[in-house]
Symmetry: C2
């Protein structure tokens, strides 16, 4: 893993763990400016899912990181990578496309498979790490709070 990916994924996983510790959905994200070749990478912002903590319907990990980043000039996104511990849902996928973020690094896509194909069809580079740490944390949460998880992805819970 290169320096950009280590910086971003470490921050995203830390956010996921923090969210879990708060009783929330353990999905974390980070936005890293990687600039042009040779530039030092810079962590712009991090975030985690806030459904439970803030009764939020839109602050998924990725949206939260983008929101915490504040207003950025369009060219900043175009030289950045977004990291997320779990495959991005259609809303977060759409946010990545809106800002034309060229690169997405995903911890795992076993517990949920989002808009990876749509991203690729728009020329976005998508990397799935297959992280065991991400998989087991998310699987634990889904076992513990299936209804909250289903609500987060718009699925009805079948009793």
């Amino acid at each position: 893993m290169d320096a950009v990916d280590k910086l971003g994924m470490t921050a995203a996983i830390e956010q996921a763990k923090n969210s879990y510790a708060e009783g929330g959905i353990p999905i974390g994200s980070a936005l890293v400016y990687h600039g042009s070749a040779g530039e030092e990478p810079r962590l712009i912002a991090t975030g985690h899912n806030e459904r439970i903590q803030k009764a939020s319907a839109t602050l998924h990990g990725e949206i939260s990181a983008l929101e915490n980043a504040g207003r950025l000039k369009p060219d900043v996104y175009r030289k950045s990578t977004i990291f997320t511990t779990l495959s991005p849902c259609s809303m977060c996928t759409g946010a990545i496309l809106l800002y034309r973020i060229p690169r997405v690094v995903i911890g795992e896509n076993v517990n949920f498979l989002g808009g990876e194909d749509l991203l690729r069809s728009h020329g976005v580079e998508v990397i799935v790490l297959g992280s065991e740490e991400c998989k087991s944390l998310m699987a634990k949460f889904i076992r513990e709070k299936p209804e909250e998880w289903n609500e987060d992805i718009g699925e009805e819970t079948v009793a």
Copy 2:
């Protein structure tokens, strides 16, 4: 226009005007629960673009309305219509798909054309009203603050 659409579009346009009055991007949205046939429609929440007001990169009109609605059970979205004064960008399109909102009513799509085809390809009913009021308010804003508008849709402003 039926009762649901009148309720929703009136609220969305009011939000757009409020945002303009605050110096913000004049895009408004509303989420209306239309229930099953014969049920009284209910305005769940409204919102407007908050880029300028809250230095927000994610609170577009539709995201703002969904956020203001708070946590809802998945089946509520499935019996609701979302109204927006302007065609939804890819992020807002993705949010509509995430929550499987079955119906989207759009004020206009001349100043910006978003993910209408993607919505339709997922079976979402999309209605474009072609509102002159929505068109002229948005056009006025774009003339006055082109850079802010471009930033909102991730476009670089060419001097």
